[in-house]
Symmetry: C2
Subunit: 414 residues, 2 copies
Amino acid sequence: VKVKIVSVGTEILLGNIVNTNAAYLAKQCANLGLSCYEQITVGDNEERLQETIQQGLETADIIILTGGLGPTKDDITKEVAAKVMKYPLKLDEESKENIINYFNLIGKPITENNWKQAMLPEPSHILKNENGTAPGVIMEKNGKYVVLLPGPPEELSVMFEKQVIPFFKSISEEIIYSHMVKICGHGESKVDEEITDLLENQTNPTIAPYAKSGEVHLRVTSKAKNEEEAETLMQPMLLKLKERFGDSIYTMEEHITLEESIVTLIKKNKLSISTVESCTGGLLAARLINVSGVSSVYQLGHITYSEEAKIKAVGVKKETIDTFGVVSEEVAKEMAIGEAKFSNTKIAVSVTGLAGPNGGTKEKPVGLVYIACYICGNVYVKRFIFPGNRIKIRNNAVSSALVFLREKLLQYSK
Amino acid sequence: VKVKIVSVGTEILLGNIVNTNAAYLAKQCANLGLSCYEQITVGDNEERLQETIQQGLETADIIILTGGLGPTKDDITKEVAAKVMKYPLKLDEESKENIINYFNLIGKPITENNWKQAMLPEPSHILKNENGTAPGVIMEKNGKYVVLLPGPPEELSVMFEKQVIPFFKSISEEIIYSHMVKICGHGESKVDEEITDLLENQTNPTIAPYAKSGEVHLRVTSKAKNEEEAETLMQPMLLKLKERFGDSIYTMEEHITLEESIVTLIKKNKLSISTVESCTGGLLAARLINVSGVSSVYQLGHITYSEEAKIKAVGVKKETIDTFGVVSEEVAKEMAIGEAKFSNTKIAVSVTGLAGPNGGTKEKPVGLVYIACYICGNVYVKRFIFPGNRIKIRNNAVSSALVFLREKLLQYSK
C-alpha cells in the first residue's frame, strides 16, 4: 500500500510554519506498514492542488491531505478534493452540532464562516474533531482513498490515532514492525563506525541511524506477517546492538524519551531531583516536566540568570564568582550543592554558560558551558564547548545535562 | 525565478525528524523574491533522487537540496547530484583542512569516513561550513542551479545567510518585500472576519493570515523594483491594519518575537521581571530568556511544581492551598506576589494549572490554568481552559501568559 502525503497551505510553502504534520503522518504510516514514497507541499492554489490530487490518484493507493479545512476563504482543500472525486458537499448536522458545542466550551462566539466547516462530501466517512471545529473526511473511489485531515497538529494527531489508524489497519496486508534503539552520549559518525558491518549486511531486519541532539537513534525494522514473527526476526540484531553499546542504550521503545528514562531511573533509586539553570533558562526543568508523573521526584527548581540570583537563591559565594568567574567549574558546583540543599533533594543539576551572541572572550568563548551534577553528597562537573548559535548552544546544553545526569545516575545505582 | 526545494533523507520521509529546513529555505527564498512552487521529500534512494533532480531541472531554475551530505554510507546527495550534472568529484584541500580544524576544536578524533565530505564536484562553488564538517556546493549548468546544503539546521542556516543569499541576490530581478503584522490575543477566524474586505480586494500588496499559538500573523507582501517603491506601495494597507487592530499589533517586523517585544516594553518602562511556574515548568522563563540581552531585566525565577515548593520558595500560604486548591486564582496571586517580593522585581508572572493527562475533576478539568501578573503593587489574574494534550496545554499557557503580561504592561505604561 503506497501513501502520498500532501501538505496544503501557502504558509507551509512559503515557510511561515514548519511542517510537523508530514513527519507525524509518515511515522504513523511506517508503523502501520504503509509505505510513504513521497511527501509534497503545495500552496492554497486550486489548480496546483487539483493536479496534485489527480497525480496522486494515479500512483498512490492512499493520499493523505492535511490543512486547508479551516473557516477562511483560503481554505479550499475539501472543496477541491470533493470536486476531483466528483462528490457533492452537503451540510452535516452532527458536525454542525459539534461546532456549536466547541464554541460553548471555549466561551467564544461562533462567526458566520465557521459553518463552512460543516459542509461535507457525500458519500464519505466523517472523522470527528475533538480538538477543534474542522471535521476530517475519508473518501473512497475505485479502491483509492483520499483522506482529509485538519492542519493544526493537535487536532490531526488525536483524529489520526483514534479514527484513521483503525481504518488503515483494516486495509494493510503485511506489518512493518520496529524497535527504536536509542543511544545517548555518542556522535553519529562514531555510532556509524561501530555498526558498519551491520549496515552493510542488512536484509530483514534493516537498520537505520538518525542523529538527534546528544543522541543517535537506530531504527531496527522487520517485515513479517504478524508482530510475533517480526519480534523473533529482530532479536539477534537487538542483541548485537546491546553488546556493542551497552549502557549507552537508554531504551528500545519508540515512545520513551531520554527525560522519561531518567525520571524512571530516579524513581527506581528512590531519589529526588531539582535543577538550577543560568543560560538554559528553564529548558532543562521543562524537559523533565515533559514527563507526566514527574511530580513524585521533581518539586522545585530555580532559574538564576544573574550573579546576584545565584548568590541569593542557591547560596553561591560572591567570592567564588569573583575568583573564578560566573561561568566556571566552581560556580557550577556551588549552584548544584546549593540547589540540593535548598530544595532538599538527593540530586541537583546545574547549568552555567555563555549562550551568546555577546559576552565571549578568548578564555571563555561563547558556547562554554559547565554542567554540575550533585548526587547524594558527591558532586561531578563537566566542561563543554558547544558550537553554533544561542538556540543551538542552549539546546545542546540541555541534552548534554541529561546525558551527564544519566551517566552519573547509572554509576550511582551500581 | 522558480525554486524547488528537495529534502533528502529517509529519516524525513519516514517521519523520524521534522523537516524544519524546508520551512526555513522557503521563507528565505520568499524574502529574496524567488518563488518556491513546490517542496518535496524523498528518501536516501539513488533512483528516486536522480529522478527528482532531473525533473526539477526541467521545471525549476534553482533546485535546493538539503541533507545527505554526511559522512555515512547512506549519504548520497552529493554523489547523485554530481552524476546528474556530469561533474566529477575531486578532493578539495581547503575542505579537508576545515574538517581537521573542526575536530580539533571539539576535541574528538576524526574517523575515516569523514574524508568523504572533502570530495567535491568540479566545477562548483564551494560553501564553507562553520558549524560542521560537510561543505555545501553550488553547481551551474545551462543557467540552471543545483544547490546542495547540509541537513543539520544550524549548519544550513549560517551557510545560507552568509554565502547563498549573496549569490541568490545576484540572480533575482524583481524584489518581493514584506512586513509581518503580528497580532496577539485574537483567534484566526476573528482576525479573518475583520479583514474579509481586504482579503477579497487584494492585488499588490497581498495579505495572508497565519495562525500561531496565541497569535495571528498577517504577511503583507508587495512586488516592486526596489525596497523604497515596495514600502510606498504597502503603506496604505499597513495603516488600515493599524486602525483595525490597534494595540493588539505588537510588531510589523518579521524577526521580532512576542517575547522580544515584551522585553523591550519592560526595558522602556524601566521595570524588571521574574517568573514562577508550576505546570509550564520553566517554559515561560525559557521563552523570555530566548531574548538575547534579557539579563538587564530578568534575573531570577522559580519552578514550583509541588505544593510545598510553592509554600517554601515563594511563600504561598498553606491555608490558601487547602481552602482554594493549588490550581486557583488565589494561589496564582500569592505565587506572583511572593515571587516579586523574593526576586525584588516590579513584575512577576505566575502560572498554575493542570496539564494532565491525569488529575482532572469536573470542577477543575485538565486544561484549567490560572495566570497571575503582578505589576508594581497590583495583581491581575485570569482563568483559562485550554483544550488538547499536555504539550498543547503547556504551550498555550505560555503564549497566553505572554499575551496577558503584554496587555497589563500596556495598561501600566498608559
